[in-house]
Amino acid sequence: MLLTVTTTHRPATDLGYLLFKHPDRVQEFRRSFGTVTVFYPEATDERCTVAVLLEIDPIRLARSVGRGAPDFSLAQYVNDRSYAASSLLGVAVADVFSTARSGRGDDHQALADTPIPLEIAIPVLPCRGGPQIARRVFEPLGWQVEADPIALDDRFDEWGDSRYVRLRLTGTVRLADALNQLHVLLPVMDESKHYWQGNDEVDKLLRSGEGWLVTHPDAELITRRYLGRRSGLTRHALERLAELSDEVAETFEPTDDEEATPPAVGSTGGQDPRFDVVLEAAGKPMIKLVREIVELTDLPLRVVKEQVNCTPSRIVGNVSQVTAERVKEALERCGASVALLERPVSDEARLGSDPSSPDGGELVQPVSIRTDSPDLPLNVQRHRAVLAALLELGARSVVDLGCGSGQFLAMLMAERRWVALPTGGQTKAPWFTRVVGTDVSTRSLQVAARRLRLDRLGERQAERIELLQGALTYTDTRLAGFDAAVLMEVIEHVDPERLPALERVVFGAAHPGAVLVTTPNSEYNPNYEGLTGMRHPDHRFEWTREEFRAWAERVAAEYGYTVELRGIGDLDPDRGTPTQMAVFRHE
């Protein structure tokens, strides 16, 4: 609610000229969210302080936000907006000092253009991430930062500090820069923006960030927090920043998992020579190349960055010459050096019966050579391991129980293998004839539907995939009749005493031909630095290998399955792999 700016520039009262606000007047500005009062508690030649005091009309705030807002939460009524220097104060400062912020100084233009000694005091600043974030954000801008944490409640010592700090910045900075920085950085500290963000937010950010944001080492953090983690807007902003500086965007990686991984570039024909496209070296700027590869392969950004950083790597595998040359050309346009490697084509492979895969199909993965790379994210390794197990089982109809946002479903939909045609020929066709994802969260299913582009799939593709809301403690006839069911990192989210219900629903009632279960191996946990407790706050348990084995063997015996246990991820000689998998087959 309160912020003061003091200068010791002489005469200090010039501050009034720079701000276009007379030091002897008390001025009120009425805004939709409340009243801003600007006054000068001190105004001498030696020292002049302007105070901005924002009084929020909490009911008006609650009314304007609450109506029609989906998150109808208590937080809107009992909130800190009336006390803390929130994004609202940032808006207020930007608003009442808009002329000063633009750098206009009129009769005092020279002074307006000059860095002057300034002291900014904010008694209560919400600072998610603690005082170090305030230092990280303000120090590179030339401020000396004092950020003292505020106790949550002095009557309950054991509660520790609140998320607020008392902030004092001292430095010699151009006043307009200081005000613009406050405009951007108060919401960044606060992290909860109070109003709807449209595309002009990006413009506002870039305007206020002019001259300092691009060069700020934490520009990405600032951008993301300012835009309230709305990934679409953040990406948009970073792209525009990237036009100014390549480095910024290169550090960017989407934080949510909504990056789609739709069907990858496949291959055509059977008799032609096949090629791998290998990236030998990535030029600069890397970001352009990364984006190009994402565009071409639709692989997750994380994976592509991996490929670009660890050259040589195979970008696309087993494609026709035409496709390979097209890819090569595109990558070279981005400054990369690229080689095409022709694959040795055996007669068997021409006929589509690769002896290395059990049922005559050939796994076409237009992905990096480093499929087994321990550097790949664990979830990617897990997806690949489960996919490999499904192919090994020959499962063609699969239900992913607890599919979440549908990453694995997308992988299943993208899978193409050699399949015999009724006419006697061979064609590369979708291997999975029926892919169903279930989740208890309707929100997750909406994300999955977007990822899979369900509304835009052609009829044949749409017939293969279905998303269902379901809970694993209720029997569900829709889950019956599958070759395989996948429970990937699901069981540890079920209370142990509810597991028997899940077992009956999945193994008893749905009774698929095979069940693949993955779950964390708790023995491996010491390998995670700084991990205390379990790997996810919602995990109800994490099992050792022995505990998992005991469970799996009991369930297998009870429901007429055989079970085999496998590891996924880095093998630690003593602690095993981070993920463990049970492959159940119906006898």
């Binding site: 609610m1 009062t37 009084e55 909490p58 009336s82 006390y83 607020y164 209720y474 509810r498």
Partner: protein, 869 residues
């Protein structure tokens, strides 16, 4: 109305019509399909309109017009018949008499409709309108809306004549051929299927598989109060019950046991006298075939039966054969509320007639597999049963009869040395007599039945999708699909085992806003609202500032297993959204402490389990995270910011700036903020494990056999709870107020002021006597005021700071305009659902039925309502 050929419009399945006794009569099945057969112009539509309700007749012309706007467009015929089949199929599934008005002169078109009737297990009749060709042609020519040429009619006529020769073999129950002259004079009536005896209301004594065990049967009938009628030779030939009860035998009277003829003689006598009903068992069916001389495998005790019957002489043999051969496979009784079949019957087959219905009723839902003893594996249809009718059956011997989803198997293997069991209906009381000896060795050991409350008896279809629940206290309550979807996530991820979850508390509305200066809520409005609703006495209960808790407690593990179906546990304490309090170990410890604390109630109420509505204290025990993250954070910001602002303003004032008004506001807000900080701090008390945790029960929701929340007054509840002395129990301070007594009301207001001044949250005002607030259906004005609220909360001034914000008293004028309508409606519906869940659980209804209702409360909670109310 009184025409002789009154249409059977709206006749419920099972109603027979009485016809005048002159002229030709045609009786069609009351639940089934009727095909009108006749050439174009034979008068089918006229006939249908005269004898049936318009909604009962589905015509091909109508369907043709439906799909292409032209009743004569023959090109649309395939699509039209698709629609016709669909409509007919849906009607038959719903058990409605349906008449198809199409020419139906070709065998193929009749065959598809007969198949449709069979698919829905209903009978099908044909009524043939056999008119001369020339008459039909003439009629067609006189109709402007018809384009049927004489060639087409001639073709149809030849088809019909050909059909008439063999139609009776096409699967019709009856083919009624009406000649020209009969068509206008015939009377059409309906007749019910033989299995439909819904007019019988009992009371019934349903008796399990007897298998020739006459001594046990006589003992059992005696125990049930029957008087056996004996013939001169001392043989039991009948029985009567002084209270006019009716016995119902579930079949398998015969085979294996010592006296099959004796049992038959008794039951035949009872059936002939009208004191008993009997359905056929698989053993009767096989015995009939054997007696008729068919080749059957003589095992499972058949040989003994044949020998015993032969020894009784030819007369007995003949009458026994007639009796058994005439047994039907199931009965629908008591207005459809009771179904008896030998091996049980799934809901879709109730009251239906077909070979597969009979086969299901006699042999069960067999899978075609056999188990290790060589006996057929039966599909557990009862676990999937969701019907409202009670299904009573036998066939599969079990140790103890157990209810599974409102069905029960009474075969307790008397012939194998078990017992002979009867079910008193509607009392639902089990009466058994032990076998005198083991007459026959079982092929496999007697097994326990599927436990009723086994967790997978819950199906996703029990809870998802839009549904209407019928409750006694809130009428029909709609649960929208999207609310159910939201609740599914909470229920499946966070709630306790559904077997424990027999109730969820409803939301509660605050009293209407007070106009009194400085108050948003005040007891006066609660008193006024109840007085206006005709309530004479209310109770004011202290509102503990804690977390709402429901405690389900059993006396011992055996009770938990038997009544709740939970093998490992003795109870649970859960939140208003069904989550467990504390972790596993602490939760168990809490349950154990509470079980011993409420032990006096187990005694006093003669029950082995209790469900208590409580508040768990202190608030911080469960909500410390929320307090710190939400309430204390705001307090911290205020506590640091306001003094800083005051300082800056003081400096500014010192240099002569006019900031007095602003400084005043800051000072007042400082006072408000400190009051707010005190408000939440009052509800924080240190706890360590269970140390410091208290439970304040204020209502005993249910105990064995009694839904006490419905039947008892709050006075009774509070008196019972007051007998508990264990220190973990915190009493709920309360006082009763006669709403006609101004002094009592004033005293109660003062009591509330004192309570809240001392940091109390406030109070809840409830009618002392249980609320029975079902509003009159369809009364628009009653819709506005959905009956009497079960309770109204009146919260203290200081407490409301943590709800509406520290400065809320400065904006009372705005806040008073809050709307309570939705909140009250929600409170009413949730209360009705909660009570319904308890009632269903107490009545021993299946888990799915209780769970559906509890789930609905959670689903309604996802409706967006101002959370400050």
């Amino acid at each position: 109305m009184s025409e002789p050929n009154r249409p059977t419009a709206g006749s419920a399945p099972g109603e027979s019509t009485v016809l005048a006794d002159s002229g030709r009569q045609v009786l069609v099945p009351s639940m089934g399909l009727v095909l009108l057969v006749g050439i174009s112009g034979s008068g089918k539509s006229t006939f249908g309109a005269r004898h049936f309700a318009p909604s009962q007749v589905v015509s091909s012309d109508f369907c043709r017009a439906l799909v292409c706007d032209d009743a004569n467009d023959q090109a649309a015929t395939p699509d039209a018949f698709d629609v016709l089949h669909y409509i007919v199929g849906v009607r038959l599934r719903r058990g409605r008499l349906t008449v198809v008005d199409a020419t139906n002169v070709q065998r193929a078109s009749r065959a598809s409709l007969v198949a449709l009737a069979k698919a829905h297990d209903v009978l099908v009749d044909a009524i043939v309108l056999d008119v001369p060709e020339a008459l039909a042609v003439a009629r067609n020519q006189s109709r402007a809306d018809r384009e049927i040429g004489s060639a087409a009619v001639n073709r149809q006529y030849r088809d019909l004549k050909r059909s008439l020769r063999s139609m009776r073999k096409e699967g019709f129950r009856r083919v009624h051929v009406l000649c020209d002259t009969e068509i206008d004079t015939v009377q059409v009536g309906t007749e019910r299927p033989w299995n439909d005896r819904r007019e019988l209301h009992g009371p019934f004594d349903v008796i399990g598989d007897v298998h020739g065990c006459l001594p046990e049967l006589r003992t059992l009938l005696g125990d049930l109060g029957w008087q056996i009628v004996q013939d001169g030779a001392g043989r039991a030939v009948g029985a009567q019950h002084p209270e006019g009860r009716t016995a119902v035998f579930v079949g398998d009277l015969v085979d294996r046991g010592p006296d099959t003829p004796g049992v038959l003689r008794l039951v035949m006598g009872m059936v002939a006298d009208g004191t008993a009903l009997c359905v056929s068992g698989n053993h009767e069916a096989k015995l009939v075939r054997a007696l008729k001389g068919a080749k059957v495998q003589v095992k499972h005790g058949l040989a003994e039966s044949l020998a015993q019957i032969d020894a009784e002489g030819d007369d007995f043999r003949a009458s026994a054969l007639t009796f058994m051969d005439g047994l039907i496979s199931h009965f629908v009784l008591d207005d459809g509320r009771l179904v008896v079949a030998h091996a049980g019957l799934k809901e879709a087959y109730h009251g239906r007639s077909s070979g597969r219905v009979r086969s299901f009723a006699l042999y069960g839902d067999t899978t075609g597999e056999t188990d290790e003893y060589g006996l057929p594996v039966r599909f557990p249809w009862a676990t999937e049963y969701r019907g409202s009718a009670t299904v009573v059956y036998g066939h599969t011997p079990t140790l103890v009869p157990e209810w599974v989803n409102n069905t029960i198997c009474l075969d307790t293997g008397v012939v194998f040395g078990g017992s002979l069991t009867a079910l008193r209906y509607p009392e639902r009381q089990i009466v058994s007599v032990p076998a005198a000896e083991q007459y026959y060795a079982p092929a496999r050991p007697l097994a326990a039945a599927v436990p009723e409350r086994e967790p997978t008896t819950l199906d996703i279809d029990d809870v998802t999708g839009t549904r209407w629940l019928v409750t006694e206290h809130a009428g029909k309550v709609k649960i929208p699909a999207e609310n159910a979807a939201a609740a599914l996530e909470v229920m499946s991820r966070f709630a306790v085992d559904p077997r424990w979850l027999v109730y969820l508390p409803p939301t509660m509305s605050p009293a209407p806003a007070s106009e009194r200066d400085g108050f948003l809520e005040h007891p006066e409005q609660a008193f006024a609202e109840y007085a206006a609703a005709g309530v004479r006495e209310v109770v004011c209960e202290e509102k503990h500032m804690g977390s709402r808790a429901v405690a389900v407690l059993t006396r011992d593990e055996a009770t938990a297993a038997q009544r709740f179906g939970v093998a490992d546990g003795t109870g649970v304490v859960y939140t208003r959204t069904g989550r467990a309090f504390f972790g596993a170990d602490l939760g168990t410890e809490l349950v154990d402490r509470l079980r011993s604390a409420v032990a006096p109630l187990f005694e006093a109420l003669d029950t082995a389990w209790l469900v208590l509505d409580c508040e768990l204290l202190p608030w911080s025990a469960k909500a410390l995270g929320l307090i710190k993250d939400q309430y204390a954070s705001v307090g911290a910001a205020a506590h640091a910011a306001l003094p800083a602002a005051a300082d800056v303003l003081a400096v500014a004032a010192a240099r002569g700036l006019d900031v007095a008004a602003l400084a005043d506001r800051v000072t007042r807000r400082t006072v408000n903020a400190e009051a707010y900080r005190d408000a939440y701090a009052a509800y924080v008390r240190p706890t360590d494990g269970l140390d410091g945790v208290r439970l304040a029960p204020f209502q005993i929701l249910a105990a064995e056999g009694r839904a006490l929340a419905v039947t008892e007054s709050h006075r009774w509840h509070l008196e019972q709870i007051a007998t508990l002395t264990d220190p973990i129990i915190t009493p709920t301070r309360h006082r009763y107020v006669d709403l006609s007594d101004e002094t009592q009301k004033a005293d109660a207001v003062q009591w509330w002021l004192d309570l809240t001044a001392a940091g109390g949250e406030g109070m809840v005002v409830k009618p002392v006597e249980p609320v029975r607030g079902l509003r009159p259906a369809g009364d628009r004005s009653a819709r506005q005021n959905r009956g009497v609220q079960p309770g109204l909360k009146v919260r203290g001034r200081e407490y409301l700071r943590i709800i509406y914000g520290p400065d809320y008293v400065d904006s009372l004028d705005v806040l008073r305009h809050r709307s309570l309508g939705h909140k009250k409606s929600l409170a009413h519906r949730e209360h009705g659902l909660g009570i319904e869940a308890l009632t269903r659980f107490v009545a021993g209804q299946p888990l799915w039925s209780v769970h559906q209702t509890v789930f609905a409360v959670l689903a309604l909670e996802s409706e967006p309502v101002d959370p400050r109310l």
